[in-house]
């Protein structure tokens, strides 16, 4: 109910439907608390704004209503009574402002405590996110090494279970931010920063890098899929498997093209000899919603366009342009499409 008020308040100005990436449409506890706080702040400060503007406009209009004001020409000061009365009003207004601000500090601190790092529950699912220049390296940490999942640019979280994001960066400062789920946290090369949230309803939520990180800062998105426990478990078990073996001859040629050209230099597909760590892990590429860090939806056409000329889609990104003949590209696409 309350975020309808928030959106109502703000939306009548610019009628934009909530995109998949909006802080006004919370889907997790952190974002919900912050949206509520935003509603309280907006209402309270909006009232103050209207009062101040009302007084300002009234004093401008008062001049026209011809009220006989006190003669100012000689003393340039109103009568002492007016001064004292105005003094009391200004004093009261200042004290009221201070009280309101102290109240705002209090509710802000209480909301902050609820979502702060110290409130991270012990049984949180820990995900390590490492920012690279213009893509996200995601690793699901687990005490049992065989359960560790390595993926990129897409995170699946179970609804109802707390999730902790441990972030760092490999090169410059990035900032991990999913508006629907929680506030942003900078990823800084020499530090590990943490934040947490607990999804409250399933859905697909888009997030974007929020700290300027170079040429393709605009195309560094991450998708978070919140789903119920069962489907999350299914997804997790699928991610643990190695890559599917190529069945048809075209897929086998595709795998050979992948391993013999520059693809294997940077990317890794578990189950094959490609183990490059400097680019996203492609073992389950076909299961992802988007490719190139949220730039293009994941379908064959986009994959072909992206592989043949990445510089046109994301100018300046670090993927090499490899001259592939069509008899190499089609089999490669066939092979990449089976990597569920």
């Amino acid at each position: 109910m309350n975020n309808v008020i928030v959106s109502g308040l703000l939306l009548w100005i610019a009628p934009g439907a909530f995109g998949p990436q909006s802080a006004l449409d919370p889907a997790a506890n952190s974002a919900r608390i912050i949206a509520g706080l935003m509603r309280d702040f907006t209402i309270l400060l909006g009232i103050i704004f209207l009062i101040v503007i009302g007084v300002a406009v009234a004093s401008l209009m008062r001049r026209h209503r011809g009220i006989e004001q006190e003669p100012l020409e000689r003393a340039h000061l109103p009568s002492p009574e007016t001064e004292n009365r105005t003094g009391r009003i200004v004093g009261a207004a200042s004290v009221l402002t201070t009280v309101i601000l102290l109240a705002l500090i209090a509710i802000s601190a209480s909301a902050g405590k609820a979502i702060s790092d110290r409130a991270i529950p012990a049984n949180a699912l820990t995900i390590e996110v490492t920012g690279n220049q213009w893509w996200w390296y995601v690793r699901y940490l687990n005490d049992d090494a065989s359960q560790i999942i390595v993926t990129a640019n897409e995170i699946h979280v179970p609804v109802g279970r707390p999730v902790m994001i441990r972030g760092t960066s490999q090169d410059v400062i990035h900032s991990f931010w999913i508006p629907d789920l929680s506030g942003k946290r900078d990823l800084i090369p020499s530090r590990i920063t943490t934040e947490w949230f607990q999804a409250e309803r399933p859905g697909r939520f888009r997030g974007q890098c929020a700290e300027f990180c170079g040429l393709q800062h605009a195309h560094m998105a991450v998708w978070v899929v919140a789903e119920d426990e069962a489907s999350f478990e299914a997804w997790r078990r699928a991610q643990l498997q190695d890559a599917v073996e190529p069945a048809t001859p075209s897929q086998q040629v595709g795998q050979q093209v992948f391993l013999s050209t520059a693809c294997a230099m940077c990317h890794s597909i578990r189950g094959t000899s490609a183990h490059g760590q400097v680019a996203p892990d492609l073992t389950h590429l076909a299961s992802r919603i988007t490719i190139a860090a949220g730039t293009l939806p994941n379908n064959r056409g986009n994959l072909a366009g992206w592989i043949s000329d990445p510089q046109t889609i994301k100018p300046g990104n670090h993927m090499a342009t490899i001259p592939l003949r069509s008899d190499q590209l089609q089999p490669l696409l066939d092979y990449l499409e089976i990597l569920r």
Binding site: L10, A56, R63, P78, V172, G183
Partner: protein, 637 residues
């Protein structure tokens, strides 16, 4: 009515006329190009600061329009990513370092000496040197930018992106060295303003009779003195040395820390925005006092609030870094400090509202801009209170909500008062009245254009649009709001053009503004418009807070200052009792030569560290020539 028409009591007409002729000769600027380069009168240098800063405002505005065109629709290809990053960095750097601070200094260099009743700033040649350093800095940035070395890491250039490994080429070095130029000029003006206001006031102008605008400039000058060294370290000692001689201030793998750069930069960064904002408070006080026919309500409350703003401004820089995961207790303190500074602004707004309520307002163009200030700045201040709360900042940091906030407080808080000041003091600076109708038209264009541009950005920010992205995909729903913002940006540009046309056409009229068209209260309205180089034939003796209202004829004046050399009166700090006379130097080419020498060295130091020694040697020669004694050396008492 003042010192031109009837000579002060007891002095004959002829002696006043003789003194004026002698003063005109002594204070005349040297002729020719050499004379133009070596001028040291504060009116000429003040005008140059304002005109140069206005040119940079137009350049920044063009860059803003290019950004808005690129963001008008999703997946737009007007600007490539590399070009867009350069444009938004140049926009931010130009507006903050090359327009906002210098124009406030220019107005101060022009107005403060007249308002405190003296003839020039304390160190005239340092004033000349400061202007040239500022001009050379601006030219250096734009020449390097147009020849391919434009900075592209943002106006605060966070490391490691701006570091040696991830920002190739000379762009970020240019940005770092340009800051050295503009901050040296800011420090020069700040020291001059402090010494002028504290040591060279008219007799009788004790501290509680100082005009509110002069109080604002004094507080701003102190903030500049304490804030600028921090950016000197952040830009030159840390970033430039890291990039050119391989020090490890911010290299995370060698013990350095990127957050150290952020702390040092924002320790300067937040006082910087108050350095831009506090002079605007002075403009508002001056305009309101003249046009509401009464002295500002709560003089001491306004002054104490501005002093408090000056102090608290140094205590809240970490609210720029809430998202970096700092310890909780630190964030709580900075939330409280960031909110408390709203109290000081609130008190001043209440005092101005009380002045407007109990005064009799004249609806001049300047008052329109004051109303625009109140509307836009209060809204920006309230979003600032929202941003100072840690949870809200985590959702809106580095998004278009923040872009909307700081444009509201910077354009609303500094540009609108500045345009109000242009309309208020245009008659004083040029001697001609600016057209009021065109002034009000430019106000309404700017006001409506501003709100149409920047209010939708609040919604865009909350809908997830992050800062500094050169494009966005269509399915995110940001297209319509961005189109509205681009339309508003062109409306602002139109308002700017109307103001320029208004200023230029008004310049062509006859010089008939007279000394005091607004019947205002402070001393700058007691000198002819445009004021001669020596301002007062006989500096006034002040007996009240509003000298021209309580003693219009300024009957008590100071006599005895020699007219055959440039002399001013040095007075006490608190009660301004005359202490001794002080001889000011005339025109001198040496500050220009020193500035040129240092410029050559600093531009070279971007390419090789050894050029700092060239800067030291050439600058040293310039300074030695600067204070080398002229004949006659001995001063007749």
């Amino acid at each position: 009515m003042s010192d031109t028409a009837t000579p002060p009591y007891g002095l004959t007409q002829e002696s006043a006329e003789a003194d004026r002729a002698a003063l005109a000769r002594t204070w005349a600027n040297a002729k020719g190009l050499l004379g133009w380069l070596s001028v040291t009168t504060h009116q000429a240098i003040g005008r140059r600061y304002i005109v140069t800063a206005f040119v940079f405002l137009l350049l920044g505005g063009i860059e803003a329009l290019m950004m808005r065109i690129q963001l008008a629709k999703p997946e737009n290809t007007f600007l490539a990513p590399a070009r867009y990053n350069q444009i938004f960095t140049m926009h931010g750097t130009t507006m903050m370092f090359l327009f906002a601070v210098p124009v406030m200094e220019g107005m101060a260099v022009y107005l403060v000496p007249i308002m405190v009743g003296t003839r020039n700033v304390a160190f005239p040649r340092l004033n000349n040197f400061g202007y040239w350093m500022y001009l050379f800095g601006g030219i250096f940035l734009y020449v390097m930018a147009l020849t391919g070395a434009a900075p592209d890491a943002g106006w605060f250039s966070y490391v490691p992106l701006a570091g040696p490994q991830f920002s190739t080429g000379k762009g970020v070095d240019t940005w770092a060295q340009m800051i050295t130029f503009t901050e040296i000029s800011a420090l020069c003006v700040a020291v001059e303003i402090i010494v002028t206001v504290l040591r060279m006031r008219a007799p009788g102008m004790s501290l509680n009779r100082l005009p509110l605008y002069v109080w604002s400039m004094l507080i701003q000058a102190f903030m500049v003195v304490f804030a600028m060294p921090a950016v000197m370290i952040a830009s030159t000692v840390m970033l430039l040395n890291d990039r050119t001689i391989g020090t490890h201030f911010v290299n995370p793998w060698e013990g350095g820390d990127p957050l150290l750069y952020q702390h040092v930069f924002w320790f300067f960064g937040h006082p910087e925005v108050y350095i831009i904002f506090v002079p605007a408070l002075g403009f508002i006080s001056a305009i309101l006092e003249a046009n509401s026919r009464r002295s500002i309500f709560g003089y001491s409350a306004v002054v104490l609030s501005q002093v408090a703003t000056g102090f608290i401004a140094f205590g809240l820089w970490v609210h720029h870094m809430f998202a970096t995961g700092l310890p909780q207790i630190g964030e709580a303190y900075f939330t409280a400090a960031s909110m408390m500074i709203a109290v000081t602004s609130g008190v001043q707004i209440f005092c101005w509202l009380a002045t407007m309520w109990t005064g009799r307002l004249r609806m001049t163009a300047a008052i329109h801009f004051v109303f625009g200030f109140i509307f836009i700045f209060v809204l920006g201040g309230l979003t600032g209170v929202m941003l100072s709360s840690v949870p809200l900042d985590l959702q809106s940091h580095d998004t278009y909500f923040v872009v909307a906030h700081f444009h509201y407080v910077l354009i609303g808080g500094a540009l609108f008062p500045l345009f109000g000041a242009f309309h208020h003091w245009f008659s004083k600076i040029t001697g001609r009245m600016i057209d009021e109708a065109l002034g009000k038209l430019s106000f309404w264009l700017l006001f409506i254009g501003f709100n149409v541009t920047f209010f939708p950005m609040h919604i865009l920010g909350l809908n997830g649009m992050t800062r500094r992205i050169y494009t966005y995909s269509a399915d995110l729903g940001w297209g319509s709001a961005n189109l509205i913002a681009t339309a508003g940006a062109f409306l602002i540009a139109l308002g700017g053009i109307v103001f320029i046309v208004n200023a230029l056409t008004s310049m062509r009229g006859p010089v008939n503004a007279g000394e005091d068209p607004w019947d205002a209260s402070t001393l700058e309205w007691a000198v002819p418009s445009p004021p001669p180089n020596y301002n007062f034939v006989y500096p006034p003796v002040v007996s009240s807070l509003t000298p021209l209202w309580t003693d219009p004829a300024l009957r008590t004046v100071v006599t005895g200052l020699r007219t055959d050399r440039r002399e001013v009166l040095v007075t006490g700090v608190t009660e301004a009792e005359p202490q001794f006379r002080y001889i000011l130097p005339g025109s001198s080419i040496w500050p220009f030569l020193a500035a040129a020498g240092i410029m050559i060295g600093f531009c070279g130091s971007v390419f090789a560290f050894s050029w700092y020694f060239v800067a030291s040697v050439l600058g040293g020669i310039g300074f030695v020539g600067w204070f080398w004694p002229r004949r006659p050396v001995e001063v007749a008492p």
